[in-house]
């Protein structure tokens, strides 16, 4: 008798889940938010155990997932750690195309979301998440997971507002002033290099497209745009040209290095003081600790230099959202996990301590982070400052061929950094524009010239 009843209950729950997923995954084109009448905002648990797979490369995710699994024995999440970035996306897209092999939950960097949506890889979870989820995140973050529509494709996990990191001890040694504008930054770079010809205030990396994108974002550029039902590509806007020629001049003068970041050589430079500053994002402490542990306590974080004195705007480098894939058989429960992961206080605490991530949820930014990271123990107001900065991120729209643009950045700026002339840098921007625009048109997208 009991067995019979519980089977009935299971069937009912399963049916509801099926109904919910069927309703909510359709009609994502127009982004109708009120997807299905039967979806919920109060969490439910399935009667029988279900298994969800989660592809991510954020470190320490096992601990976070363990907390969830303990509290939800019937929704078991397994972490499959992937290579960071492009490879995981390619694997996902291949699996989507093949019809099987994709995970339930996927980590999706913000700039990849349009690509993933275009490939029909991300499920519409508008009806599966809380109705007021939008209020938990900043406008910029929310826009990147909805692409400006009412459809929710993912939930923001962490973000990377950009700041300027510098060796406070070296600055003191040479009597350098912390720059607040880019003009000042150029002056400090020149002063530093003159005092120590082996030292540089930073490097221009032709390998890190996201870094340059963030800087262009700060200057006011938005490389793609949606106008009605057409895309526009605006990489060679005045703002981007300004940023490119600024850095090109510095490299040409030789006061800024031209080598890529994240190489053994760059790590060495961080350690021995030949890289005195790093324009980076909020997750920098983790990288610095991993690569230059011997410089602990010597760095400080400041706001990114501004183009005009008195401005307060920054760009974003890195950060991802968590999405449910269209191949998931349990999108409702997957979405439940995703929401918990990115908004609950306990998950936030674990993400911060185990993963070194800076949460995108505004509430978590305040509560989960009070003490500065161990590497920056000399700067007690680290996270207060960070929280201020993260609200100043400028808006930016990513298009469906971000990878083409980034790959073009690698090649064009590789040539430019080798040539070391300002002209080469601005030429690189134009070349990027041409490549990206042509690729978009050739793929058949509706493109506005």
């Amino acid at each position: 008798m009991r067995l019979h009843t519980s089977l009935k209950v299971a069937a009912a729950v399963a049916a509801t889940a099926l109904l919910a997923s069927a309703c909510s995954s359709g009609g994502s084109g127009d982004g109708d938010g009120s997807a299905s009448p039967s979806t919920r905002t109060t969490p439910t648990d399935p009667a029988q155990k279900i298994d969800l797979t989660y592809w991510t490369w954020a470190p320490g995710m096992d601990e976070v997932v363990k907390a969830w699994n303990t509290a939800h024995p019937n929704i078991h999440v397994t972490v499959n750690k992937q290579d960071g970035g492009d490879p995981a996306v390619t694997k996902l897209l291949t699996a989507i195309k093949a019809g099987s092999g994709a995970p339930d939950i996927m980590q999706a960097e913000y700039q990849k979301i349009p690509t993933l949506v275009a490939a029909d890889a991300l499920a519409d979870i508008t009806g599966d998440v809380s109705a007021d989820l939008e209020s938990e995140f900043s406008e910029g973050a929310w826009q990147s997971v909805t692409l400006g529509s009412d459809t929710v494709y993912a939930v923001p996990q962490d973000s990377g507002p950009m700041e300027f990191y510098y060796r406070a001890d070296v600055f003191e040694k040479y009597g350098l002033k912390v720059p607040t504008t880019w003009d000042e930054y150029a002056q400090v770079a020149a002063q530093l290099h003159q005092k120590d010809p082996k030292a540089y205030l930073g490097t221009f990396s032709a390998n890190d497209a996201g870094w340059f994108t963030g800087l262009a974002q700060q200057a006011g550029a938005s490389w793609w745009g949606i106008d009605g039902d057409a895309w526009s590509v605006d990489i060679d806007s005045a703002a981007t040209q300004k940023v490119a020629s600024y850095w090109g001049k510095l490299v040409q003068q030789g006061v800024i290095d031209n080598k890529p970041m994240y190489t053994p050589a760059w790590n060495k430079a961080l350690n021995d003081g030949t890289q005195v500053g790093w324009v980076s994002a909020i997750w920098a402490p983790g990288v610095l600790e991993g690569n230059a542990a011997s410089t602990k306590g010597k760095w400080k974080m400041a706001k990114l230099p501004q183009w005009n004195a008195g401005d307060d705007v920054t760009g974003n480098w890195g950060g991802s959202a968590t999405a449910v894939t269209t191949q998931s058989k349990n999108p409702q429960y997957a979405a439940e996990f995703v929401e918990w992961l990115n908004t609950s206080p306990e998950a936030a605490k674990l993400l911060v301590t185990e993963g070194g991530l800076y949460p995108a949820a505004l509430e978590s930014q305040k509560t989960a982070l009070s003490d500065p990271p161990a590497f920056f123990s000399n700067q007690p107001d680290f996270y207060t400052l960070a929280s201020q900065i993260s609200s100043t991120v400028a808006p930016f729209t990513y298009g469906p061929n971000v990878n083409v643009a980034y790959s073009s950045y690698n090649d064009e700026f590789g040539k430019a950094t080798k040539a070391k002339t300002e002209q080469a840098f601005t030429d690189a921007v134009s070349a990027m524009q041409t490549t990206t625009l042509d690729d978009l048109k050739q793929s058949g997208y509706n493109v506005k010239e």
């Binding site: 994502s28 084109g29 390619t90 275009a118 080598k259 890529p260 080798k418 997208y445």
Partner: protein, 331 residues
């Protein structure tokens, strides 16, 4: 297919020891069983089945994909915005007219001309030395030179990356101390040699063993006659040994050429370390970029077909020439 990312090329060993069969001199070699039995087909069945499934079928599919492309409607977001349509020869046209691709093909040919003769020359030299009399330290050298073959290309490129980057390299440390400055092999016209060096390091041992095995199969009484006549070791090596292993060398050469034309793992691992390697440095890198970075499997498929056809033409030409000599044992 056991596609490895090493460029160590397979070569042809001479057949290992068989039994001396003086009786053969007397009677002609027996023909093989001709009775139309199913036996040979049975022996070949597993290989053919696996080949069909994992090589022929994917290749066919890749060829099919090379004639297709994706058409997008409107913004391209949402469920039915992308459809796969027939593209005819468009992918091929784009591929062959892409200046970067043509440049990469030429670059890789130059790379092959630099690498293969050097690698085979060194392999031959080491093999001859291992086979020579009165040379010392043979065992140690043999194992040491073969050792790099055990290291996957991705790892060896990383290791050599550390050895190349001037600020972390022990080599530049030494050259600086000697007053020779710190050369940067990655940041100049030397990058091709840097990549070739990694492939050389990984492949010379393999080819050395292949040639050495062939040398070891030569009956030593051939040398005795020459030695009695007063020929020096060097002459014996040059006049007797090398001509005997020549077919081996030729086939090794072909396989090495094929592998070097497919160079991929070394440049792609070194790429993040320097500004001088574009994402289209070698043809296969372009294929990778299209397939894995741009998610454009169609263009990648067309490029691969072009590369495979070119390699086919080059190598089968050679293979036909030497096939008769290579398989004379069976006649």
């Amino acid at each position: 297919m056991t596609t490895s990312t090493t460029t160590a090329a397979p070569g042809t060993p001479a057949p290992p020891a068989g039994r001396p069969r003086p009786a053969d001199a007397a009677r002609p070699r027996r023909r093989r069983r001709r009775a139309g039995s199913a036996a040979p087909y049975a022996f070949l069945a597993p290989a053919i089945a696996l080949f069909a499934l994992f090589l022929a079928l994917p290749i066919g599919y890749a060829v099919y994909l090379s004639f297709r492309r994706v058409k997008v409607s409107g913004l391209g977001l949402g469920k039915n915005a992308r459809t796969e349509v027939w593209a005819g020869l468009e992918n091929y046209r784009t591929a062959l007219s892409d200046p970067d691709f043509v440049a990469s093909v030429l670059r890789v040919l130059v790379y092959g001309v630099i690498l293969v003769p050097t690698m085979l020359g060194l392999a031959l030299l080491f093999a001859l030395l291992l086979d020579a009399r009165r040379v010392r330290a043979k065992s140690f050298s043999r194992v040491s030179i073969f050792l790099p073959y055990a290291v996957p290309a991705v790892i060896s490129s990383l290791l050599w990356g550390f050895l190349y980057l001037p600020s972390v390299s022990p080599i530049t440390y030494v050259t600086e101390k000697l007053g020779w400055g710190s050369p940067d092999v990655l940041d100049s016209g030397w990058v091709m040699f840097a990549i070739a060096n990694i492939a050389l390091w990984g492949g010379v041992g393999f080819n050395m063993v292949v040639i050495y095995t062939a040398l070891k199969a030569i009956p030593t009484d051939l040398y005795e006659a020459a030695r009695l006549d007063g020929a020096s070791e060097r002459q014996i090596a040059w006049r007797i040994k090398v001509p005997i292993v020549l077919p081996s060398l030729i086939l090794t050469f072909i396989f090495s050429m094929i592998a070097t034309l497919q160079v991929f793992a070394e440049p792609i691992t070194l790429k993040p370390l320097t500004n001088t390697i574009a994402s289209t440095w070698s043809p296969l890198m372009t294929v990778y970029r299209d397939a894995f970075v741009r998610n454009d499997i169609y263009s990648a498929a067309a490029l691969s077909v072009v590369i495979a056809l070119a390699t086919l033409v080059l190598s089968f030409g050679f293979l036909r020439l030497v096939q008769r000599r290579a398989f004379s044992q069976e006649k």
